[in-house]
Structure formats: C-alpha cells, structure tokens
C-alpha cells in the first residue's frame, strides 16, 4: 500500500462539482499526515475536456478511466471502475462527497475492499495515525466521533463543511487507467434519465439558501422568495409540506428525504422546523427564521429571527438587502 490518498472527482453536466474541490482539500490534510500524495480519480466517457479541469483542482496526480461503458452513471460500472483504478494506483484511503453518487457507491466500494466507511463527515478531529472524523447522527441532534481502525478506508464528506482546496499552479500529471468493463455482464440497465434544473446552482452546493414552507401560502409565495434569492445569489429550498402541496418541484426539498445542505446562510420562511427538516439543514452556518409563531421549533436552532408574516417581512428584507448590497 502506498501513502497516497484518493479522491473521487465528481462531475455533473460536464463540470466538476464544487464539492469535489472540498473533498480534495480534506484529502490533502490526510495526505500530509501520511506523507503521501493526493490522487484524483476521474471516471466517465469522453473525458478530454474534464481531465484538464480536474488536473488543476489541487491533486498531485489524476488517474482517468475513460470508457464508453461509463457514459451513463450506474453503481455497478462505476464501482468496478473506481476499485480498478484505485488498486492499479497503489490503494489508500478514498474520499467522496456525500452526494447521491457517493452514497450509492461508497459503501459498495468499501465492502468490496473489505474496508470501513465513515459517511457524511463534517469535521476532522485527528488526521494522522488513526484518523478521527465527526459526523451528525439522530437527524443532526447529536454528533459522533469515530476512529477508523485500519490504514485504508472510505469517507464521504458533507458538502460545504470544508473549504475548497487551492487550485494548482500547474496541472497535475494525467495517467490513463484501463479497466475491464463488459456491458454484456451488467445486471442493471439505465432506462431513462430525467434531468431537472440544468444550469441552476445545485441546492447542496449553494452558499446561500432561501427556503419556503407552508407559511408562504402557495406557489405565489415562492415567486415572492425569488427576488430575495436573487439579491443574495441564493438557491431556493422548500419544506416537504410545501412540496406535497405542489407549491414547488420536489427537487427543491430540503430535509431527511430531500437534500442535505450546509450553506453559510439559510433563511427559512414560514417553515416550522420539524426534525426531518432540521436533519437536512441544521449544520448551516447561520440560520434565519421568519415565522408568525414565536414558539416554532425553527427558532430553537436559528441565529436570527423575525416573528412576523412572511408576506410582509420577505419583501421588506429584499428591499433592505438591495440597499445594503448595492
């Protein structure tokens, strides 16, 4: 085994996802403690353009598996590709973002390699020797610190919990890796992929989120949130109740069954703050609540609050921020 540390570099819509830069930053601190290098793993088909982007995000070496059978993501083919590349490059700890893909293949890869995995990490408490990681449990009401017992393991990190790595001054060496993939043996077929929201900031990666719940009263309420989101350069989130009431598309849902977000600023408008909602946003750095009910649970985890009607407060806040940020 080498001293090196590996990073799965996730791309979407032909661009490296911001969470990948954060994962590289985390891998860097572990690599420094081990005295090894950071090796990026880029998986997919037709990767010429992406490879040169990925070579500059702060890795020391970039291993690329470029294969026609990897054009569409599937857990089966990506697991094989990642494990193949990792082993050919000498093996070592492997870091993911705790994204849909990270959750889908991280545990599968860990088990194929006979390794432990720490999911949804928000802090590193010790990087050398037996690394220790902190992660939320019980819907974010508590945290546990876990220690990995062996030198090789898998970790997934929560987006926006760590700073991005510094970009490299010069691009890293790119190493093509061949992995045997035979689509005829695949047990899963991708029938259809329905894209949503292409071009918008992904909720999980937004710095600022303006979110609405039942208290914004309807789809018009979400129209009212848009100007506020615009002045802040924010993405729009929603509670499950608002989604179920058809105020907004399910892809905006924040919470245990929706997206897990950890922005710098989360503004909850007309959201009660049920535990399942909190599970998706309680690690946000600054939480603002706007709610008519001073006893709403959201105020227990908020840093700032206004007790009032969202229909009045949101436009007023939009105005004030326009002035301040002009």
């Amino acid at each position: 085994m080498s001293q090196d540390v590996f990073v799965f570099i996730e791309a979407q819509h032909d661009a490296i996802r911001p969470v990948a830069n954060q994962v590289v930053g985390v891998a860097r601190s572990i690599a420094e403690a081990r005295g090894g290098k950071v090796v990026g793993l880029l998986i997919g088909a037709g990767l010429e353009g992406l490879s040169s982007d990925a070579a500059s995000i702060g890795v020391d070496r970039l291993a690329v598996v470029d294969h026609a059978a990897l054009a569409t993501y599937s857990a089966e083919s990506y697991t094989t590709a990642v494990v193949g590349a990792l082993e050919q490059q000498g093996g070592g700890p492997l870091f993911f973002g705790n994204t849909s893909i990270g959750k889908d293949i991280g545990p599968r890869i860990a088990h194929r390699l006979g390794q432990g995995m720490v999911s949804d990490v928000v802090a590193i408490e010790q990087a050398d020797d037996k690394p220790r990681f902190r992660r939320p449990i019980y819907a974010g009401k508590a945290f546990c610190t876990v220690e990995v017992q062996e030198a090789e393991y898998v970790v997934s990190i929560r987006a926006n919990s760590f700073p991005a790595a510094e970009a490299a001054a010069s691009p890293a060496e790119v190493v093509p890796v061949e992995v045997n993939l035979d689509p005829a043996t695949f047990k899963v077929q991708v029938k259809e992929v329905i894209e949503r929201d292409a071009g918008q900031v992904d909720l999980t990666e937004a710095d600022v989120i303006v979110s609405g719940g039942m208290g914004v009263k309807g789809p018009e309420g979400f129209e009212m949130l848009k100007p506020l989101a615009e002045v802040l350069g924010a993405a729009v989130g929603a509670s499950r109740a608002a989604v179920l009431a058809d105020f907004i598309h399910p892809s905006h849902q924040v919470g245990q069954t929706g997206k897990t977000v950890s922005p710098n600023l989360y503004i909850a408008c007309g959201i009660s703050g049920a535990v399942q909602h909190q599970a998706g946003m309680s690690t946000s750095k600054c939480i603002v609540a706007i709610n008519t009910d001073a006893d709403a649970p959201i105020f227990e985890i908020a840093d700032y609050g206004i007790v009032g009607d969202a229909a009045e407060v949101v436009p007023a806040l939009t105005e004030q921020l326009k002035k301040l940020l002009a």
Binding site: Q12, T99, D104, M117, A139, F143, Y153, I301
Partner: protein
C-alpha cells in the same frame, strides 16, 4: 416470488437526545420504532404480496431482545415471518459488522427481491443495505420512489442530485426505499393479534456459523449539538426588523 425486508429498530424521531453517564446516547426511556424508511419498505413488500405479485414477506433484523417489538410491528403490518439475529455478541455495531451478519443470514435464505430503507435515522450511515448487496452480489437501485416487479426483473425510479433515474435490475436485486413511495399502514388490533401466531425466529451468530466480525470503525465520543443561544429576534415594523437583520447578517455574522 419471495421478498425479504431489512428492518432496524431506531429511536422515535421526536425523541430529545441526551447523553448518559458513560457518554453514550441515553435510550432507556425513549420510545423505539421501526426505522421510518424501513416501514416504507415493509409496506411496499406487503402491498406487492396483496397484489399477488409476491407470495411471501420475511423481515430480518439485527438487534437486541427489545428489537422484537420492531419484528412484531412488521408482522402486524402484514409480513409473514420475522427473523431476529441477536446482536449481543457483536462488539461494535458498525455498518461493516452488521452487514456481514446480515449477509451471512441471507445466504441461507431464498428470495427474489431484497428491500431496505435508504438510511437509518439514528446512525445516518446509508451503508448497511448496499454492503449486503455487495456481499451477495446483488445489483442495487437506491433511494427509490416507485417500484415495478416484472418477470425476472425490477424497475424503479431513483432520485439523484439534479435528476430522476429509471433503472431496471435483474433479480435477485436490492431496492432501498425513500419517503413518499407509499403510506405505511397502522396495524389494526386483529392484525396485531394475528401477528402473535406468525413465525418469529431468533438466531445467534453461531446459528449462522460465523464469529463476531471485527469492527472497521469505532465510535470514540458522542456530543450533543451545541445549544444555540436562542435566536436573536428583531422587533418593530417589518421594515425596521428587516433593516436590523440585514445589518446583523453583514456586520455580525458576516455571511453576506
């Protein structure tokens, strides 16, 4: 067609979490329930049996004696049979160990579709079910909101970041369920009574022919979410309150 559902007992999500004297999570007086995501999986399995697509539903749990309540709940929802594997010999219930034990148990069982929750709300790991699929060489479709069982295959829609994927997997396969796939039923009194007569087997690790797995990760400490001071509330007219908030976001929290 035979279905197996992996079911974990967890603390009710409404619970206030506190630490006990030895620094662990205090769970003595807290109500225990079937992990909500596993309840969706059980409901889905029972519906498939009611539709005649499947014949038999077995729920499998790794847990302590008290987890029998979770097994009973699933039997009362309509599962035909329950197996509880006693966890008292397992040194640490890390995802690796639990998956190894479940894998060993399932190797001796016949099934076409394995169902599980997408995550356990207590440990927030999203690992065990996928690891079991890897052990058994099953294809997987994770976090699904719709399942259709066909001849020798299952088709399911999965929510991923920014997209919905529709996948078809050859059976036997693993499918993990998300909220919204169905509405889990409340067991009725007659069904609770009937459940008492259904087979409920308890197995030890030696019954499975395995030794306790060596954990790959160990919990060294629990901490509670730091209590916030309570929100700073801005009063006045909407314009006044909004002005103070904007000011605080810029100069105090420095987030804009």
């Amino acid at each position: 067609m035979r279905l197996i559902v992996l079911v974990k007992q967890t603390l009710t999500t409404e619970a206030r979490i506190a630490l006990n004297d030895s620094g662990g999570i205090e769970d003595a007086k807290i109500k225990k329930v079937v992990n909500p995501y596993d309840e969706f999986a059980v409901e889905e399995a029972v519906q498939l049996r009611e539709k005649g697509v499947a014949e038999h539903v077995t729920v499998v749990t790794v847990g302590p004696e008290s987890a029998v309540e979770a097994s009973r709940h699933c039997l009362a929802m309509g599962a035909d049979e329950a197996v509880r594997i006693d966890d008292s010999e397992i040194e640490s219930t890390d995802s690796f160990s639990v998956a190894e034990v479940l894998g060993a148990a399932l190797k001796g069982m016949e099934f076409d579709l394995l169902l599980a929750g997408q995550v356990a709300v207590d440990d927030n790991a999203s690992q065990v079910a996928v690891r079991v699929a890897e052990i058994l060489g099953l294809p997987q479709i994770n976090v699904v909101s719709k399942i259709e069982l066909g001849e020798g295959e299952v088709t399911a829609s999965r929510e991923a970041d920014g997209q919905t994927e529709v996948l078809t997997a050859k059976l036997p396969a693993l499918v993990t369920t998300d909220k919204g796939i169905n509405k889990p039923r409340y067991p009725t009194l007659p069904n609770i009574m009937k459940a008492k007569k259904k087979p409920l087997t308890i197995k030890s690790l030696s019954d499975l022919g395995i030794a306790a797995p060596t954990p790959k990760v160990k919990v060294v400490a629990h901490t509670l979410r730091p209590a916030k001071q309570g929100a700073k509330i801005f009063a006045g007219t909407p314009a006044e309150a909004a002005a103070q908030l904007a000011e605080a976001l810029r100069n105090e929290a420095k987030v804009i």
